[in-house]
């Protein structure tokens, strides 16, 4: 098994994650999950998501990974029973009380140990496996050698390969609690690690923000080591981000397995990933301890981009007109690029743009409006249109 696991902040993101090649998604319910700011799923939506995933032969994992206080247990039993009843494929847990409760209730729920448990060694894995955990999400600090030792236990291993990083060991930080009384381990992280810390001696502020994680360079190593699931971070990210990241990693994983992935391919995908995230990224802990190149100092250098121009709603084979739901400004003369799960990436220079009434316009100025564009090559619903920024031929 080589599973590509995507974040799904809501059903739309889940839909796009699967469409663009994810094998499984993870998301939280309204309670007991660590992304309180994401839309998350209510009970009916979890059921609908599970049924939808299973209809595609794919999987859903539900986060139940807060660290509970005594007052937080109300409703937990009913919630766990419900998740079991609707056959979610696994729950992601970090608090031993949840793990034990699943067993006490006699549920068949598979359990995956959250990265919040900061697991870095096979002996800790043994402890959790004896309690019924069948998969471990590794601490993001786990090195190549540490992963090998854990993999030797035979437990399923899930590893983050892309997305934002905590400065801290996950679960070992209450900076947010201290600064804002928002409990980081119950879904309220205020990301204090991305703030500036002032020194009393007038020296430059301390910053501790890590760059994002990307494992493009070492993905093949991890596949060869037998890592079972490759996880993308970002339940609060946009459909464009989710689709783009999944699109890139799907192609890289398949290319590695089929032995067709080249170094220029990897460079191209990495350029897309970095542009899409609007952040720099690095492999972080896999091959060495992160240094200055894996951190930001005095804020990020990049400026926000508006690459995501629109979503293809429809393509008329007869007229060769694409209907686009717009997101950002574009105009006649803009060079745009289309990509999709089954659409080979290509670019065109826009020479005509029509509004929804088929009147010619010189630019699309407002997001979430409908425009029509002549495109010679066939497109599919839910393909994306983005600004052409990266020239693959220059990388190749």
């Amino acid at each position: 098994m080589t599973e590509l696991l995507a974040p799904a902040g809501d059903f739309e993101r889940l839909y796009f994650a699967f469409l663009y090649g994810a094998d499984a998604v993870y998301f939280g319910g309204q309670n007991f999950g660590l992304r309180a700011n994401a839309k998350n799923f209510n009970l009916e939506e979890i059921k609908k998501a599970t049924e939808y995933a299973h209809s595609l032969g794919k999987k859903v994992y539900v986060t139940v990974n807060i660290v509970l206080h005594d007052s937080d247990f109300a409703g937990l039993d009913e919630y766990l029973k419900y998740l079991d009843e609707i056959n979610v494929d696994s729950i992601i847990v970090s608090d031993i009380a949840v793990i034990k409760r699943v067993k006490e209730l006699g549920l068949n729920l598979a359990m995956c140990l959250s990265t919040q448990a900061s697991t870095m060694n096979s002996r800790a894995v043994k402890f959790w496996r004896n309690l019924g955990v069948t998969r471990v999400v590794l601490a993001r600090e786990a090195s190549r050698d540490a992963i090998k030792r854990i993999k030797d236990t035979g437990i399923e291993v899930e590893a983050f390969i892309h997305g934002a990083m905590c400065t801290s060991f996950s679960g070992k930080c209450v900076l947010s609690n201290y600064m804002t009384l928002r409990d980081a381990n119950r879904g309220g992280c205020a990301q204090v690690c991305r703030w500036n810390f002032e020194r009393s001696d007038g020296e430059v502020d301390l910053t501790i923000t890590p760059k994002d994680l990307n494992m493009v360079k070492f993905l093949e190593d991890e596949i060869n080591m037998g890592v079972d699931s490759f996880k993308i971070e970002g339940r609060m990210r946009s459909i464009y981000y989710v689709a783009t990241v999944i699109w890139c990693y799907r192609r890289m994983i398949d290319g590695i397995i089929n032995k067709t992935l080249t170094e220029p391919d990897k460079a191209y995908y990495l350029a897309i990933l970095n542009r899409c995230a609007n952040r720099e990224s690095a492999p972080q802990f896999f091959d060495k301890l992160p240094g200055v190149d894996e951190q930001y100092f005095n804020g990020r250098d990049e400026v926000s981009n508006q690459d995501f121009l629109g979503l293809v709603l429809d393509y008329d084979d007869d007229t060769k007109i694409a209907t686009i739901d717009t997101r950002n400004y574009f105009e006649i003369g803009t060079e745009v690029e289309f990509f999709g799960p089954n659409t080979e990436t290509f670019s065109i220079v826009l020479n005509k743009i029509y509004n929804d009434s088929l009147e010619l316009i010189d630019a699309s100025r407002h997001p979430k409006t409908i425009v029509k564009i002549p495109v010679d090559k066939k497109l599919a619903k839910n393909d994306f249109m983005r600004l052409k920024v990266i020239d693959k031929s220059s990388i190749l």
Partner: protein, 252 residues
């Protein structure tokens, strides 16, 4: 009984004959957040191991802990350690930092250990409720540096290198009125709240195996004041989360 983290050889000498005190020594190469650490051969009391470890660290630790020594107990964070101390006849205390927040979890962990450290991220009422309902006596933080974050990154070294400024492994910083004391060694960076956590009003709790004092960065006289006399008049202190509940979710 009091469990006191040893911060110097001199304070160890001053406290070691006190029958009401068990000394806790940060183990060299296996702790983060402690400027002074101790070789296993110099420890006569409990040993503290608060790093998150990989298998190679654990293999070495296994050897260290099984050499002849005078360790009477161990306070540890990484659950992998359970596997290597199962045959040791010492008191085993789990410090699963930031996770000892509810009674059920602590009781489950107590099936595998002699005691568990109750979190200091929760309110006084929550602590009291937990202590009242645990199946074995627990350990309660009553005074000391309150840890806020543990990073495997060498944040201070990276910062100094990037700006080409002197590398200090201890740094005081703040955001608005919230102060932090940071300590870094080769195993990671540890953030503390700048004011000492003061929960001395919990000293009357029953069902407590140890009341833990963690007086990092204090001088010997200050330590004696607080540990022997519970006098914190000369120490900048705060009740932190004891009287301030955190929110479950944004909007709560």
């Amino acid at each position: 009984m009091k469990l006191v983290t040893v911060t110097s050889n001199t304070i160890s000498d001053k406290l070691k004959n006190n029958e009401d005190i068990m000394l806790l020594y940060p183990l060299k190469s296996y702790t983060v957040g402690y400027p002074i650490t101790f070789d296993i051969k110099d420890i006569d009391g409990f040993v503290l191991i608060n790093r998150i470890l990989d298998d190679f660290d654990l293999d070495e630790l296994d050897t260290i802990l099984h050499k002849k020594n005078n360790i009477k107990g161990i306070v540890f964070d990484d659950l992998g350690i359970l596997d290597i101390i199962s045959d040791l006849n010492i008191t085993k205390i789990l410090l699963i930092n930031h996770y000892g927040n509810n009674t059920r979890s602590i009781n489950y962990y107590l099936e595998y250990t002699d005691s568990v450290v109750v979190s200091s991220d929760i309110t006084k009422e929550e602590i009291k409720e937990i202590v009242k309902n645990t199946i074995k006596p627990v350990v309660v933080n009553v005074f000391g540096m309150k840890d806020l974050m543990y990073s495997r990154r060498l944040l201070l070294a990276n910062y100094a290198k990037y700006y080409n400024i002197p590398n200090k492994n201890v740094l005081d910083v703040k955001i608005k009125d919230n102060g932090f004391k940071i300590f870094e060694n080769e195993y990671g960076t540890y953030f503390y709240a700048s004011k000492y956590y003061n929960a001395l009003n919990l000293l009357d709790l029953d069902n407590v195996l140890y009341f833990w004092y963690n007086p990092v960065f204090l001088d010997d006289e200050q330590i004696l004041d607080v540990v022997i006399n519970n006098d914190v008049s000369n120490i900048d202190n705060d009740s932190l989360f004891l009287d301030k509940a955190t929110t479950y979710r944004i909007g709560d």
